[in-house]
Structure formats: structure tokens, C-alpha cells
């Protein structure tokens, strides 16, 4: 039987087969790997974000002049000075005049990744301790305001 005869025979098949085949609608090809790749990409993103947030503290390094720098790895601003960690006390507003009784503790540099409204990375300054135990970071890398540097209250940690 020739190909032509075969096609001719096909032409005369019952209407039901023709109608059955006419009802088919175009489908989107299912690509299961697309879903897998999407889920994997999301997992990688979440894991990367978690690793960034929970990464360990960078080692504290000595600057040679008694001041040490370091970062908390979080958005909390901190300073290292002579082996002590000072954390910015956000409950207190910055001041411009030191209290009467204080002593100079050492130089400190802020080296953390997080930026807040008050400070930027690598700001340099000095740490002063008052008689009541409150510490202040004098931000000497900032411009003077009315001839004075800003003093940020800190808590020795």
C-alpha cells in the first residue's frame, strides 16, 4: 500500500477521531527543572543573606597607638579602644561638651560595615570616660559644629 493510499485511508476515518483531536489546546511545556532551579536560587539567596548577617566578628587589631578597631557585624555601632568594646548608646543624644570630670581613654576608629544616620565607616575619634562611667566617642573626623566635635555616648561592653 502506498503512502498516498494510507493518507487517503486516514482521511476517511470516523468523525469522532477528528473531533477528539480538534479539542486539544496548546499547553505550556512543563519544565520541572525550572522550578528546581528557582527554588535552589531562592535557597542560595536566603543562605547568603543569613551568612552575611551572622558572620563572626572580625579580629580586633591593634593600631599601635593604643587604639583598636573592630566591628560588631551588625547595625549596632561600636568602637574598640585599648581592648574594650564600646557600643553606641542610642538612648542618649549626642553632646558637644564633655562633662566636668573625664579622662582620655585612647584613640578609636569606627570600622564597621553598617552605616547609620550619625556615622559612616572608618570615622576616627577618641574615647573619653567620665567619672560616672559614661564613655563618649569624640568624632574628630567630622567637621566641627560651632567649634566643637560631636560626642557620642557609648557603653563599655
Amino acid at each position: 500500500m502506498s503512502d498516498k493510499k494510507m493518507l487517503d485511508a486516514m482521511h476517511d476515518i470516523d468523525d469522532s477521531y477528528i473531533l477528539e483531536a480538534s479539542n486539544i489546546k496548546a499547553k505550556n511545556r512543563s519544565r520541572p527543572w525550572v522550578r528546581v532551579v528557582a527554588v535552589a536560587a531562592c535557597l542560595i539567596l536566603v543562605c547568603s543573606a543569613a551568612l552575611l548577617l551572622l558572620r563572626p566578628e572580625p579580629p580586633v587589631t591593634d593600631n599601635g597607638d593604643g587604639a583598636t578597631t573592630g566591628g560588631t557585624g551588625t547595625s549596632q555601632v561600636s568602637f574598640y579602644c585599648n581592648g574594650t568594646l564600646y557600643v553606641r548608646d542610642t538612648s542618649k543624644a549626642p553632646i558637644y561638651d564633655l562633662p566636668a570630670a573625664y579622662h582620655y581613654q585612647g584613640n578609636a576608629i569606627l570600622t564597621h560595615g553598617a552605616i547609620d544616620t550619625e556615622l559612616e565607616a572608618s570615622e576616627a575619634g577618641k574615647i573619653y570616660i567620665c567619672s560616672d562611667g559614661t564613655a563618649y566617642f569624640e568624632c574628630t573626623s567630622r567637621a566641627l559644629v560651632n567649634g566643637k566635635y560631636v560626642l557620642l555616648p557609648c557603653i563599655p561592653n
Binding site: K5, A9, Y17, I18, L19
Partner: protein, 185 residues
């Protein structure tokens, strides 16, 4: 509009029937015509000819399925056009004349040939019933609607290669099926 209503409109000689047919089945008819002819302009012309043929056929005929009836007309017209075009491309006046006389030559078919053809159709239908729904649709879409593998892949959501392989297996099954029943291939 339902097919029965369209047929009633055709019986009432209302031209609304044709516009309704074109709206409802025009796309599929054009697709089949394009599959056969591979030429959009020719396909459109053949589909319009098919509407005219349908208009002339109904009444008196009252088909069970309007779509199948229409598609058969489209196919017949397109195949005739295809053969005519092919003969013309061969640039042979003889081939063109032979094509023009085909109607009379076909009438010469013997009763024996007619019976054999009817038997083969029955075998094919029986074979189609043995297939899964998916394979049956693939087979009919390929060898009745003449869909491309690419289009079949789009319709079924399978890869083009998978469609080719499945159809190849179905063809092989059909060959065995017909051979077992004494049909010479």
C-alpha cells in the same frame, strides 16, 4: 453559536451562518490548509472555497458534525490545490492535464479497490482504538491535520524529539497491526 443552529441558518440560506463558521472554525481551517499547502495566501483562498462548497452542500446534506464535514471539504480542496501546484512546478503540461483529468480517472476505481480501501479504514479505526488518548490525538493531528512536529510539541507540552519518537513507535505498531491482518504495505 451551536453547530445545530449554524446548520439551521444554512438551511434558511442565511449568510450569517458563514460568518459564524468563519469566526468559530476559521482559524482551525486555515491551520489545516496551511499545513497542507505551506502557503498562507493559497490556504486562505482554499478556505474561502471551502466555505462556498459548504454553502452549496448544506442543504441538502445535514452533517452529524459540522466541523468534521467542513474540515474534510477544506482538506479535499487543499489536496487538489497542492497536487495542482506540484504539477505546475514540474512545468509539465502533461502533469497539469493529468491533474485536471484526475476527477474522471478516480471514478474508474473498481469495486474491489473500494472494498479494500473501506477495510483499511476500518483497520485504522480499530488500531486507533487500541492507542492511548495522547498517542491517538498525536497520530490524528499528524496524519489527518498534517500538523508539524513543532506544533504538536506546542499542543501537547512534549518535546519535539519526544513527539517524533512517539509517532515513530505508533507508525511501527500500525505497520505490524496491518500486516497481521494481511494488508500489504
Amino acid at each position: 453559536m451551536e453547530d445545530n443552529k449554524i446548520i439551521e441558518l444554512l438551511f434558511a440560506r442565511s449568510e450569517t451562518a458563514l460568518s459564524e463558521i468563519a469566526r468559530k472554525y476559521g482559524k482551525l481551517c486555515l491551520q489545516v490548509a496551511t499545513n497542507i499547502l505551506g502557503n498562507h495566501a493559497d490556504a486562505e483562498e482554499c478556505v474561502n472555497d471551502a466555505y462556498l462548497a459548504l454553502w452549496q452542500a448544506i442543504p441538502p446534506q445535514r452533517p452529524q458534525s459540522l466541523l468534521a464535514f467542513l474540515l474534510r471539504i477544506v482538506k479535499n480542496i487543499c489536496i487538489n490545490r497542492y497536487e495542482y501546484n506540484t504539477a505546475s512546478k514540474r512545468n509539465s503540461n502533461y502533469a497539469v492535464c493529468l491533474q485536471e483529468m484526475a476527477y474522471f480517472l478516480q471514478a474508474d476505481t473498481s469495486v474491489e479497490q473500494e472494498v479494500e480501501a473501506r477495510l483499511i479504514i476500518t483497520y485504522i479505526e480499530q488500531f486507533l482504538d487500541t492507542l492511548s488518548s495522547k498517542d491517538r490525538i498525536l497520530f490524528v493531528r499528524r496524519y489527518w491535520y498534517f500538523d508539524t512536529f513543532e506544533h504538536l510539541a506546542l499542543l501537547t507540552g512534549m518535546r519535539e524529539g519526544t513527539v517524533r519518537v512517539r509517532l515513530s513507535r505508533v507508525r511501527e505498531k500500525l505497520r505490524k497491526y496491518l500486516e497481521e491482518r494481511g494488508v500489504k504495505l
